[in-house]
């Protein structure tokens, strides 16, 4: 079995170093959050994980590094954040950017346990949940949708409608069903709202891909290229 190399930003000292030693993993230390520096350190079979000290570099840089690591073709394994207590609030809505966190002052055995636990589970680690269909790709963690590689700028309800349709391809939904499943609240337009949003989505998908949302006459809508109507 190869040695686990864990990315460590921006340093590996004191209790952090001890935790690495206890766990038996090798730190690869990048002094800054710059991607080219990190890539240069990467072993041939990749990092097994990353420990990023968000208390030692600017918080936004740490978050942006997490995001870049997440978006890479090649994963880096679990990301563990080291934080000061006051930074906890800043994690809200960013939960998907890391796998675990430890609040300072760092306890060697806690850090080591988490490191081991996360690395053990890393084999089953899944990438960000996605919905893919033909040329459409939706990242459900970052809320970004793209069509044929082009990012779509969607409003919240457009995103939710597209997500619902693309998660259930080739199924016909009535307007009323879509309204209750996607909107789930009172809206001025009633079921016509669905038509309005479908038009907008088609406009944003562009002429070439507008047909991904099909109108099923006198029933409703269906996502996908199949001409069969599933149930």
């Amino acid at each position: 079995m190869s040695i686990d190399v864990v990315l460590c930003v921006p340093s590996c000292e004191g209790p952090v170093r001890k935790a690495f030693d206890v766990t038996g993993v090798t730190p690869a230390i990048a002094a800054t959050a710059r991607m080219n520096e990190i890539t240069a350190l990467e072993p041939t079979d990749g990092f097994s994980g990353a420990v990023i000290n968000a208390a030692a570099i600017p918080f936004t840089e740490a978050m942006s590094l997490c995001r870049q690591l997440r978006q890479r073709e090649r994963g880096v394994g679990p990301i563990i954040l080291l934080l000061d207590h006051y930074q906890l609030d800043d994690l809200t809505f960013r939960e998907d950017l890391f796998d675990d966190f430890v609040v300072g002052p760092y306890d060697v055995s806690e850090l080591a346990t988490r490191l081991r636990h996360r690395l053990r589970r890393a084999g089953n680690e899944s990438v960000a949940p996605r919905v893919e269909h033909a040329e459409l790709s939706m990242n459900l963690e970052t809320y970004q949708a793209s069509i044929a590689g082009r990012v779509m700028d969607l409003t919240y309800m457009e995103y939710e409608l597209l997500r619902f349709l693309a998660t259930n391809p080739n199924r016909v939904f009535t307007r009323a069903t879509l309204l209750s499943r996607v909107w789930g609240y009172e809206y001025y337009g009633g079921a016509r709202t669905v038509d309005v949003h479908v038009r907008r989505l088609r406009a944003k998908l562009g002429e070439e891909y507008a047909h991904l949302i099909q109108t099923v006459r006198s029933v409703g809508y269906k996502f996908g290229t199949s001409t069969e109507y599933g149930l």
Partner: protein, 432 residues
């Protein structure tokens, strides 16, 4: 997670992921002018949470005697990246509702006034759909006081300058589509330099937002091409002005409530709605046609209405009942033709719906086709007088807004009537 929270999360994440650097918080003053705050992503979270505090006394129609601080509260469903900036600029917009510091709706906010009229309609089981046709001009530039020059005239056979206008219009339609705004079609209008964009129907609140976006996009793209666009109701004498003919339909239980056995495939409800429009048209005209200049468009012979009547074909009628294509019965609708492109869309849609609904609740009888029941006001002064006596307007817009509007419009009229115009000098000076 609550609906509000998941919307906020969506917005904040999109801001991070797409590298948004500025968020424009859009709102509209009482006269329908577009206003905005620009906030950075760092401030956005607070703005989403609490709204932005601002001094309302600086905004037309927002000033009050006692308390002037107001809050602009983003409506997160309207968050949208703006496509016309250079790649990487990262600019997004979100529409705002204006509320009092205690969170209650502010009575001077046009968006909330429309919302309350729509809530009222919904309480009666109706949803209200609108589809405006928006006309405007492209000019070489806009120098106040000078007669504007349309960009596709001046040299009749100049292919290049004609191309600028149609390219610009095409570009505008594509940009609108990118923003999810459905365009039915776009065309060159009668007058030189005049163009029209017809929007696909949506609910009235979404459409009022859309009209504000459209005006901004049209002007912005024109500016980027080194020309200028204007929604002024009548910028050139002797050619037709820029109207905002608005197609209307009411829906109940997911069915078009205008479809029926009455004349031209209309329902009794539609007949009463038209009767309401025709009867109340004179008193709502101050809102649908709110400028001194608006009344230069509402003149005979310019394909614009001058009296309150309805008809199927007459293109000068106030209310028209468009023919419906076979198999497209759901597109049954009526067209209200007096509003101009410089109206405040929130207030215009609010008073149009209120006038129609008054016909429904009051069981109004539909006048004969083509029968003119009243003249439309011929000037802003006349329109404002009619508005002042209107209980419908008081009930629809509230006393704060009506009072401010009357004061502002009377001042505009007073500033206008002291002018000595080129018409008078040319006509009278040599003669009298």
């Amino acid at each position: 997670m609550s609906f509000m929270q998941s919307q906020a999360q969506y917005v904040l994440r999109t801001v991070e992921e797409r590298g948004v650097r500025f968020v424009q918080l859009w709102f509209t003053d009482v006269l329908g002018r577009h206003k905005a705050f620009h906030v950075t992503p760092a401030e956005l979270e607070d703005a989403l949470d609490q709204g932005m505090t601002f001094d309302g006394s600086a905004i037309d129609g927002f000033s009050r005697t006692t308390e002037s601080d107001l809050l602009a509260r983003p409506d997160l469903t309207t968050f949208q990246l703006l496509p016309w900036y250079e790649p990487g600029a990262g600019v997004a917009r979100v529409f705002c509702d204006i509320v009092n510091i205690d969170g209650t709706p502010f009575e001077g906010c046009p968006r909330q006034q429309l919302r309350s009229v729509l809530d009222n309609a919904r309480a009666q089981g109706f949803t209200f759909f609108v589809a405006p046709e928006i006309e405007y001009f492209y000019f070489n530039d806009l120098n106040p006081g000078e007669r504007p020059v349309p960009i596709d005239r001046g040299s009749y056979f100049d292919l290049l300058s004609d191309d600028t206008a149609s390219q610009l219009r095409r570009q505008t339609v594509l940009t609108l589509e990118e923003m999810g705004i459905g365009v039915e079609h776009a065309q060159h209008e009668d007058a030189p330099g005049q163009h029209e964009i017809d929007l696909r129907y949506t609910d009235a609140l979404t459409m009022a937002d859309t009209v504000m976006s459209l005006r901004h996009v049209v002007k912005e793209l024109a500016r980027q091409s080194g020309v200028a666009a204007s929604f002024m109701p009548k910028p050139l004498a002797h050619v037709q002005g820029s109207g905002m003919h608005t197609h209307l339909s009411l829906w109940r239980d997911e069915k078009n409530a205008f479809i029926g056995e009455h004349t031209y495939g209309l329902s009794d409800l539609a007949a009463k709605f038209i009767a309401g429009l025709v009867r109340h048209a004179p008193e709502i005209t101050a809102v649908t046609n709110q400028w001194v200049n608006s009344y230069k468009r509402l003149v005979p012979g310019a394909e614009a209405p001058v009296g309150a009547e309805w008809a199927r074909y007459d293109s000068a009628a106030l209310v028209r009942v468009p023919s419906v294509k076979p198999g497209r019965i759901d597109s049954t609708r009526v067209e209200y033709r007096s509003p101009d492109s410089a109206a405040n869309p929130y207030l215009a849609f609010a008073v149009i719906l209120a006038a129609g609904l008054r016909g429904v609740t009051g069981n109004y009888e539909l006048p004969r086709e083509g029968q003119r029941t009243a003249a439309l006001p011929q000037s802003l002064a006349e329109a404002v007088d009619l508005m002042e006596c209107s209980t419908l307007m008081q009930e629809t817009l509230g006393s704060h807004l009506v009072e401010w509007f009357l004061r502002n419009k009377r001042a505009e009229w007073d500033a206008y009537r002291v002018q000595v115009t080129p018409f008078e000098l040319e006509r009278y000076l040599p003669l009298l």
